[in-house]
Amino acid sequence: MIKIDNDNLSAIRSHGEQDYPYECCGLLIGRFDADGTKAVVETYPISNAREESAKRNRFLIEPAELMQGERYAASKKLEVVGFYHSHPESPAVPSQYDLEHAWPTYSYIIVSVRNQKAGDLFSWEQEPDRSKFESERMITSA
């Protein structure tokens, strides 16, 4: 389960619209609660490190950027709890490629952007045996 407020959701949507037709990506920074629930405190946009030709359907967060994000989170006594990215002209469901490049526990929020307008937005979590993504319950607060 992931808790996220409307401001952070709008930030993800507008990042997706802004980077259209390319994929956008970023970190979800917050805390892991004792019961396994994640609470997003802020979003942390990242420049898509893919080269130009691949950006339409790929994103990449370099480990160096992730480490930088981790340090930023630690400075606020928070942690990286997941990632978000956009699927331009594609549904907000994870691809096989997403599955192979993910770890469990993290939340993966995907926003579908069609014709420069953000649409569906879902959060996904990988099964511990890596077999598939399960849709994750999202609790939105104002």
């Binding site: 994929e23 990506c25 790929r58 994103f59 990286v80 691809s95 192979e100 469990p104 045996d129």
Partner: protein
């Protein structure tokens, strides 16, 4: 060595909640093995089914990516920290990553490659990588022969062949990709037919032309790996520079008499040919195989080593010949190895490269028109036909053969005196300076050197070089004289 492995937050549930774990290991790879043998559930998140690190998983040893050191073999010492950091990647459903688009194998192909498939180091994944790969072979001579046949047999999906030559009798002692029935055929066609016969499942592209500074970049662009099977310095530097400029690995091999060399020159990962040999040797110092000879098996061995390394590069194998120069002596039956280092001053792959596009390699190797013309001007020449005419006229001439005695055994021009090149100055008094002296060798190169040496040594008589040597004599005057 006792080191600490930092466990990233999402994986801690597979490590009993621990954020760091101490292990004993000598290398980074061993540390991960120890970690995942005690916490088995971690393994599938770090390693794929082929037992290699998942491509989005990065391992840092004290802030340094181990891929920039020796990968899993990177040594660790007491107190080091290993960090596991994911590169987070993902994307929409359109599958275009290489890993996703590897071609499938047909049942026929599975049967054909079964000896590869049952080894985990190759497996289905590796064989599909071979099928997806493309290799450009420069030359289909001694080195290109085993290379082309093994790459074809291994199932490399697309192979390009560059050669401009035709098959000649003297090639068949070592160029086993061609046969007697191919004599006079274009080498690219003869090689293509043999490779197609070995494996009809692959694509073969022939480029019947000399590799030049004008066409090299365009040709290289369409292939993943370039294999250098050439026999001359200008082309070797050309292949090297074009590989550096296009970022491709250059699988190098060379042979002479009984000795061979091989290496993988890959500027992104190590030394290039220029780091090893910044300058070519002076022209004429290192004889070609045509002049110096070569044991027929030697290119078979060296070309097979090149095929081996090419296949390993495609499979992503460790321990390729990068930064390693392998020397092989067939007569002593000894292999030796030298470490190579990337030269920061290298004019093409160094920190401040001065060569940013292909140059004139004939000129670079001292074979350009201006210099050799100057040398040739000083040496008088005669053609085989004119020489025959002078002999028939009964001119007062002497003919000195500067080849080696074993060559004299093979074929000779009647009425000549044998004084091998190395002895020609020492035995100068055996040459009569009162007569015109015609000097000959196999093709005209050594005899020109002999004339220069004699002139420098103060020989006073008239010296004339037989153009084209005994080969021209056999072709133009006396077909009974054997060509070799």
């Amino acid at each position: 060595m006792s080191i600490t492995i930092a466990i990233p937050a999402p994986l801690r549930q597979f490590a009993r909640g621990q954020s760091q774990i101490e292990v004993e290991a000598k290398t980074a790879g061993e540390a991960l093995d120890v970690l995942t043998s005690t916490h088995a559930d971690l393994r599938r998140h770090l390693f794929n089914d082929q037992n290699s690190l998942r491509n989005f998983v990065n391992v840092y040893l004290n802030d340094e990516d181990i891929r920039h050191s020796s990968g899993p073999d990177t040594p660790v010492k007491d107190g080091d920290t290993l960090m596991i950091v994911p590169a987070i990647a993902g994307g929409a459903v359109i599958e275009e990553e290489v890993g996703q688009t590897l071609p499938e194998l047909s049942n026929e192909e599975i049967l054909r490659y079964s000896r590869h498939l049952i080894m985990p180091e190759v497996g289905m994944q590796g064989q599909r990588k071979l099928k997806a790969a493309s290799v450009l072979m420069i030359g289909t001579g001694g080195l290109g022969a085993p290379l082309g046949m093994y790459l074809a047999a291994a199932g490399v999906g697309r192979i390009g062949i560059v050669d401009f030559d035709v098959v000649e009798e003297s090639n068949l002692q070592r160029q086993i990709i061609h046969g007697s029935r191919d004599l006079g055929r274009r080498k690219v066609e003869s090689a293509r037919d043999r490779m197609r016969d070995i494996n009809p499942h692959i694509e073969i592209e022939t480029h019947e032309s000399r590799l030049t500074s004008q066409n090299a970049m365009g040709l290289f662009r369409n292939y993943d790996i370039i294999v250098d099977g050439t026999d001359n310095f200008p082309t070797r530097y050309l292949v090297n520079d074009a590989c550096v400029l296009s970022g491709k690995p250059n699988v190098y091999g060379s042979i002479f008499r009984f000795e061979g060399q091989s290496s993988v020159f890959w500027a992104e990962r190590g030394a290039c040919y220029r780091c090893l040999y910044p300058e070519p040797p002076p022209p004429g110092l290192v004889p070609s195989c045509a002049e110096g000879g070569v044991l027929g098996v030697l290119p078979g061995i060296v070309g097979a080593i090149q095929a081996n390394e090419t296949i390993k590069i495609i499979l992503g194998a460790p321990d390729i010949l990068v930064n390693r120069l392998l020397l092989f002596d067939a007569w002593a039956m000894k292999f030796r190895e030298f470490k190579l280092r990337k030269d920061p001053q290298c004019p093409v792959c160094g920190e401040n490269p001065t060569i940013k596009e292909l140059i004139d390699y004939e000129e670079f190797c001292g074979l350009g028109a201006p210099q050799t013309a100057a040398v040739e001007e000083k040496v008088d020449e005669i053609s085989a036909i004119e020489l025959n005419a002078r002999r028939l006229r009964g001119d007062n001439i002497q003919i000195i053969d500067v080849r080696e005695p074993h060559e004299f055994e093979i074929a000779r021009i009647p009425g000549t005196k044998l004084i091998p090149l190395n002895h020609v100055v020492g035995r100068m008094n055996e040459i009569d300076p009162e007569m015109d002296t015609i000097v000959h060798c196999k093709g005209g190169v050594r005899s020109a050197k002999a004339i220069e040496a004699l002139k420098r040594a103060g020989f006073s008589g008239k010296l004339i070089n037989l153009k084209g040597g005994i080969t021209a004599w056999a072709e133009d005057v006396d077909p009974r004289v054997a060509k070799y």
